[in-house]
Symmetry: C2
Subunit: 352 residues, 2 copies
């Protein structure tokens, strides 16, 4: 039987809607003819979602595991109802529907490039959980649609690193499109993984005549950004304190402000820092899932800022390849990300 290319045949609450807005998905087998069955190995929970889930469990790990299991069972997908966000997964191709294009072989190790908020997911067990990174080792299966982008896992990188990179690969790809030679770019939340990748891409795109300013809240991550040499100015600050951030950027740019501001912060109320620091005619790009649409739209109007307000699109043609290349060409950044995202619990058998 043929399912809908966008997966609406899996929506059961309500029916006949797309799987992302649906409250609940049908995860039952057998596969429809245009679906792909994945034997799931690990989930990478979206940063905003994992933060909320940890807060809800008040630091109790077994409670956190139980909450994640309940969430997946209730909705048939890992779609956090509070943050509205999900994450992505890696696994092996287990079965291909009769009419699903022959792009992958059975046994291929792949990462889904589509959010878990719309991916039918069934979990039997949580094997292990990394509280720092939001990576969860599981036993279970997921169903991918004909329209869902996938990437084959690269053999030269450790899985947890690939998973972490592919989860945010839209960010550097969008930066590459937005930033022009000579631009001044401000990255808010430069020390997280999307922040590091975006900052490095901004430096490449802006070139020697451009300037990259990087704000980070966490002191250790401030040092990391400095050490990697991917920004002209790096400082510790709170992106929610928009007036303080603005004063700093006014100073750093001789009041010209930034052509492009990239927001990678995973807490809310940072919209105004992005907006105030963008020069008239420039672009404020919001990659953070904690962004409030109304705060951004009304905030720009409120201070009379004639700027473009863009929402981060996690999909961009060629984004996976661009991001994997980015990390291959910067061994020091690769090392930093490996230390964070490739702890011993995962992939003991794989070497890098």
């Amino acid at each position: 039987m043929q399912g809908h290319p966008f997966g609406s045949h899996r929506s059961i609450e309500p029916q006949n809607v797309l799987p992302q807005p649906a409250w609940k998905l049908d995860t039952r087998l057998p596969l429809y003819d245009n679906e792909l069955l994945i034997d799931v190995e690990a989930l990478n929970v979206d940063s905003a979602s994992f933060k909320q889930l940890k807060e809800e469990a008040q630091g109790d790990e077994s409670q956190l595991k139980q909450n994640v299991m309940n969430l997946i069972q209730t909705r048939g997908k890992l779609h956090n109802p509070v943050t509205g966000s999900g994450g992505m997964l890696i696994g092996k191709v287990q079965e291909r529907g009769a009419s699903y294009p022959h792009r992958w072989d059975i046994g291929d190790r792949v990462a889904s490039l589509v959010s878990l908020t719309l991916t039918p997911l069934h979990i039997d067990e949580i094997v292990d959980m990394n509280l720092r990174t939001g990576q969860i080792h599981v036993r279970g299966y997921a169903i991918l649609f004909e329209s869902s982008p996938l990437a084959k896992l690269p053999s030269d990188l450790l899985d947890p690193l690939s998973l972490a990179l592919l989860d945010v690969c839209g960010a550097p790809a969008q930066v590459e499109r937005l930033v022009q030679t000579g631009d001044t770019v401000l990255v808010l939340g430069a020390g997280g993984k999307s922040g590091l990748l975006s900052t490095y891409q901004a430096q490449k795109s802006a070139g020697r005549t451009g300037k990259v300013l990087a704000l980070e809240y966490d002191s250790a991550q401030v040092e990391t950004v400095q050490k990697l040499g991917i920004a002209d100015t790096v400082w510790q600050g709170d992106a929610r304190d928009s007036l303080q951030v603005y004063e700093k950027v006014v100073d750093e740019t001789a009041e010209r402000l930034a052509d492009v501001v990239i927001n990678c912060v995973n807490v809310d109320q940072t919209e105004m820092s992005s907006i105030l620091c963008t020069k008239d005619g420039g672009t404020a790009y919001f990659f953070s899932m904690a962004t409030s649409f109304t705060a951004a739209a009304l905030g720009a109007e409120g201070v009379g800022k004639d700027i473009k307000l863009m929402m981060g699109n996690g999909y961009a043609s060629g984004h996976a390849e661009l991001t994997l290349e980015l990390i291959r060409e910067h061994p020091q950044m690769k090392q930093v990300l490996l230390e964070t995202y490739a702890p011993s619990a995962f992939n003991r058998e794989t070497t890098d």
Copy 2:
């Protein structure tokens, strides 16, 4: 005494933040030196906010008035905590702080082009309320900052019409920038005021070689759009039913989809209609305050759409003039908007 140019000196809960994200503003007089005092005549409540307030009052008009009064008293501004949106106001310039630029004379009739979500507002009385349009006649005052854009009310248009137009003047101004000659444009929610203005501007910008498709939920408004001749195809439909909207646009465009989709719908869950109907490389522009950031960002990723996702910026240089000119050159549309927005309760003394 000099206030902060962005108005942060008026934020009292919490302090030292911008007035938009602040929970509560200080509305006390006297004025700071760089402020402007407005004797408020009327408020134009944002469509999404007014809809929510009416639902909360369950159709009871006196309850609705009381709720609006309470909201303004509680927050020192008309900032709906559920929808996050506000609206704008008209009134007379009553007092100019010593250092406020001499752009206006005392007694000038003006409209604020800044959201009520960040405007200190004190109301003594609600005189009258139009349940259909969300326009509220009041006695009270508002305080505008040095950074807040304003427009002098035009003498050739009735006040309620000017107020209604200026409230959404960002929409047609952004359409004018986005749409190129020959583009196919889809407007969702084409029958409301921002919809009508955006649709007409899209027709002007796309030109004879372009194509404008207009979706509207309300049957009477569908007829209005048809009668005005501002779109090539107009149909009645529900923008929340993204799959149905998509099928229709596939048919109308021979599967090429739209270069630009403008979302002016004031209900939620319409993000996917915008996204599915935008061609790869195109732009989905969200003017609706009911837009969910995560639904849009993850939705595009979920269906592998390589498109620009833009949030509607209510401010654009020259937006007030563009919008007023737009309505002057289309007498039939002006008549339609007059019938809706200039009921007898307002401005009996003014003639058009």
